[in-house]
């Protein structure tokens, strides 16, 4: 059975994605890397590339169910929630 996860985009990442939420259908043994690949494919070459750039430049980061994942190997379960936040800090 495929795994469905909800991706949520916040701030400038939302502008880039053109929406706040997206449901991703992934393989049964999906990990975060597969979710990102799927996301980039859906967003298209240019916007997908920009998202990857934001993530690698530290301008955005990912949380899975509210926790910073140690790597892209993190396994995903059905109904997990991926958040992509812009670089942020508060106090």
């Amino acid at each position: 059975m495929a795994v469905k996860v909800l991706a949520e985009f916040i701030g400038p990442v939302r502008e880039l994605a053109g929406r706040s939420y997206l449901v991703l259908e992934l393989s049964r043994r999906a990990d975060l890397a597969e979710a990102l690949e799927t996301l980039v494919r859906i967003m298209g070459d240019e916007r997908g590339r920009q998202l990857v750039e934001m993530l690698s430049d530290g301008k955005a980061f990912i949380l899975v169910n509210g926790i910073a994942p140690p790597s892209l190997d993190v396994k995903l379960n059905n109904m997990d929630k991926i958040y992509i936040f812009p670089a942020a800090f508060g106090g």
Partner: protein
Amino acid sequence: MVQYYGYAGRILYVDLSRGEAVSRDLPADLAKAFIGARGFGAKLLWDLLPRGADPLGPDSVLVLAVGPLAGTAAQSASRWFAVFKSPLTGTFFRSVGGGMFGAMLKFAGYDAVVIRGRAEKPTYLWVREGRVEFRDASRIWGMTVDGAREFLLEETDGDARFVAIGPAGERLVRFAAIVSDEYRTAGRGGGGAVMGSKNLKAVVVHGERRPGVFDEELFRKAVEEQIEGYRRKPVLERYQRLGTNLAVYLYYTLGHFPTYNFKQLELENADRFRPEVLEGYVVKHYGCYSCMVRCGKKFKLTRGPYAGLVWDFPEYETHWSFGGNLGVTSIEAITYANHLADRYGLDTISTGSAIAFAIELYEKGIISKRETDGLELRWGDPEVLVELVRKIALREGVGNVLAEGVKRAAEIIGRGAEKYAMHSKGLELPAYDPRSAKAHGLNLATANIGASHCYGWNRFEIRARGKVDPFSTEGKGELAKLVQDETAIFEAAGFCVFPLFSEMITVDVLSKLLHAATGIEEFKDAKYLWLVGERIYNLEKAFNVREGVGTRDSDALPERILREPVPRLPSKGQVFELDKLLDDYYTARGWDVKTGLPTRRKLEELGLREAADSLEKLGVGLPA
């Protein structure tokens, strides 16, 4: 006389009872041992405040201080520090404000102003280079801060800067704030009530004495390095756009942003706090003196009952205290209530916490409409928020009890109310759940001033990069100590803590700035600065020990935090393991684990033998 660089080289001592003001040279050993700002405040309060003095009595002491970089080109380093014994906690307290007042105090010729006594009638101080006047404030007594502003500047100098209190401070609300002319507020701990108790409405300053620096070329290079460090961080650009509002939705997602008086239920409409929503309210950006971050924003309201209001935006903390913690998600109501708090002169964190406390008591049937002046206290009701802010500021009806802070209010109400009073040492908890980040929670439990997020904001846990497991208890004592001491270093230098917490600046860069500005050789050595940070922290702790609030049982957190597991992700199931974490923390500090007291050996190691001797003379036995 010592030739000072960076420093103004003078401290102003004011006695309001006698109407006397005396200016004295800044002692060189004070500068070297405590750097400035918070460090000066800690030492002056230790030396000058009689043990057991009533924080709202004439013997109390209020210190307004800045650091050696205030008024220079160093970035983010012109904060002003109010240091006093808190009427809310009975502990040492430091509260910090921004804007231009800090730099102007330096330009007026002072590193610190020490205020004692009580004026016979409402008074404000008008401080210029070498001149101090005690001015009659009867006409402006009773005015909101914005109301008083016009009169103060008209009667003094249109270019002057001031700090003032509003009606809340005059009425001795125990968490009344000291508000600057630009509403950059020293909010926490009740400094406004201390001023009110002294019949002191405002301190107005003006001057043109720009501080010189020791080595201009070295200083210019150090500032360039500082600016480059800021620019390298991607968060700078985002922070310039939205300030602390960037973090509201993120921290809710990370479990830091507590809801419903720390019940931590899912918040309906939490997406109202998304950054793209909040950005829609911003109409203006502004900054403090010599700070490129410019994190200040003005919000404009265009709909609802408060349409037309343009005011300083609610910071992250206020979106929580007037928002999520009450179940309120109307940005309009939060902004309006924030504006009331600025005008009345209230700490928004403690005010919102007091309101959440009252709502939960009403929900649980501990108080009824008879005790709420007929108000139905419901979660998520913006009208309750606005009405209770007003009642607290004016000490009206139920507001008179809540104005005492949740700890005292619970004692007054009784009937088990203390279970819902969310505080540590009497200071209301801020917008961080100790259960969601254990080192940060440890800071909230142990901070010398009570539950202050800014006293040891644990960037290792909170910055969401996965470097440290926030739920683990391992090694958290050392991590809490490290950040608390580091914060003390930066605050002694008069710095804003945001660049530190966001890792835009390091102690090494600070060391270069301090040495180049002051010429004090010891400041060249980052290790020396770490020693000073720990020294300041321990002197504040010694102050609390002297006041009888410095032992292990004072480092407490509410029952809810210790026993009720968090019900929502990502902290689901977490409680705060206080005893284990305290053991680890005291060990890391070199304090006595059983009592939580600093040891004589630790105080001596930090150059605080005199403090240890003084405590022992007073009969406080320190562990060896």
